[in-house]
Symmetry: C2
Amino acid sequence: MAPAEENGFVAERMATIVEVAKRAGVSIATVSNVIRGTRRVSPKLTEQVRAAIRELNYSPNEIARSLKVRQTRMLAMVLPDITNPFFPEIIRGAEDTAFERGYFLMTANTDEQIGRERRIVAALRSYRVDGVLLASASGTDTTHLKSTLDSGVALVCLDRTVPGVKTDAVLLDNVRGARECVRHMIQKGHRRIAIITGPLDVQTGRERLRGYEEALREADIPAVQGRILEGDFRHDSGYRLGKQIIERPAGAASGRPTAIFVCNGVMTLGVLKAFEELGVRCPQDIALATFDDLAVDSPFHPHLTTVVQPSYEMGARAAGILIDRIEGRISKEPTTVRVAPTLIVRESTDAPQKGGPRSKSRS
Amino acid sequence: MAPAEENGFVAERMATIVEVAKRAGVSIATVSNVIRGTRRVSPKLTEQVRAAIRELNYSPNEIARSLKVRQTRMLAMVLPDITNPFFPEIIRGAEDTAFERGYFLMTANTDEQIGRERRIVAALRSYRVDGVLLASASGTDTTHLKSTLDSGVALVCLDRTVPGVKTDAVLLDNVRGARECVRHMIQKGHRRIAIITGPLDVQTGRERLRGYEEALREADIPAVQGRILEGDFRHDSGYRLGKQIIERPAGAASGRPTAIFVCNGVMTLGVLKAFEELGVRCPQDIALATFDDLAVDSPFHPHLTTVVQPSYEMGARAAGILIDRIEGRISKEPTTVRVAPTLIVRESTDAPQKGGPRSKSRS
DNA sequence: ATGAAAGCGCTAACAA
DNA sequence: TTGTTAGCGCTTTCAT
């Protein structure tokens, strides 16, 4: 019954609707109708069909269905780096809403490479997914996204927008998150606050810097050039720039910062590594606050003051909007949703030492 | 040109092969042949077709192709918990090999719920994925997997096997990992070593315990019942059981362990939290070693002695085997590959204090 | 070297 | 209430 292929690999053929119909002694239309509940079928035939399905271990061919109805009920989430602990929660949120509404969500990883993103998006288009949730790796080259949109695939941006692409987006209110965090540090008595930013050619990077600047301006603290260090959201830049800050001579005279605001969690890990190597204690020697992105709050000191992103909710809302779009429930202009971050104050931002910070102590 | 649907949502229709053929002034067979390179096409026609494709922004309908050729070139990876930092690297490995070999890998998350796993696997079967990589959440109920296999979907198990399902598997050599780690602790002078296991009804849980027992036996150290604590691989059980160990009266007389071997990284986070709360220092007060599963080595003390799993490689090999199976390159019996863990010795397992451990000190 | 046409498994309009 | 049949967009024989 199972045809042996030329290479010797034997695969059972899946039963088709025709075989089910034959076995149940009905037409294929009837089978289709009992499966999808499209129209009334007598109890008797219904039962016959059910039995046949069971006996044949039949699973409807969604591929064939998709071809006919011109929709796949597949959604895709495209991420720059699944290794970044910020994303898994987003996936969960999106997956949950997708499932609830009868869609299947798949995930793919671009590894922050625009070339890979292009390949993936192209594949997704070929597979005719109904929509994609995208946290884009792209900077400027977005032709692949445009042609995808043109061909009718719904798209919502997540976390980051894509310049020049007019589409829905779910973003964090980055300015607000950064502003409130830096405000808090100022209130704790810090005046010389350094920032390790993300890449300034990406939106989240820029926005968080803006929040920092706004907080300083509110407090009439001049933004000093040497305290703004551009990182790239990766571990190494946190390490390198953290080190650079610490190695400046301590004390008010030198202008060495008493606090650092780090724009994502991965870089913070780097900063902490630098702290450890140089024997810097936090918050005694220098205060620290961060955007989250950390998998777990470290069980060790210092517990970090953190701008927390509602990742699950972001995923869920994005998926919701995407599906609404697909189903034509919203037909207006693209909308941008800004979700609010939460500042969680912990001990890493306690007040600085009186009389200036201690000089670095090797432990 | 784009038909408005009843709900007002306007989607551009994607061009089909027929339209491309028409525009290029050739038959659809020719279009298909230039796309797939199936047979020689004259340079002239080739160029006409290429131009038409470009002008129409044509993307071949993979759905239709799949229906015809009866394979989708889609693979799926089904995971219990994408939030566990052990998995993202596995995904990367699998994704890379899949891409290289012309397959597309999607990921889905069961949330450790068998019901959800069943739904996902069913969906995957309907979508006719060519194969699935599975780190199963299932304990005993595996009928959904069997019927999937019966219907010709290739399956390889990852990290954990599924009882009663005869299929390929890529597993860690858990016994060896645990054995070598505990051996190391013994060599460091520890004799009273506690273990926080995984759930003993899952294979990895059992195997790691076995490694522990073997190491003790080799050293003629009796395995004491009270030192074997069954966890469940989750944060809370690490916290609870870690606390339980620490709260025993210290000293040799009481038999309080001088070292703990924790069977996964997430539980270790819990143990460390307990340590912190109780002011226990590591390794001064008690030594600690763990199976990895941690996203990053904590930048703080103690740096943990760790059994590292080659996650990327596991994903890559599993995908390789899966594809070989699909393509009929291997047709023999299912094989199980055991990959070797690596023990990384760090300071958390330094020798215990002479004269028994210090009593717990609040910091 | 190219084209015509059958058919993959399904849904939905039309008939009965 | 049920059945028949025309495609969905592609690949692939079979002709030419």
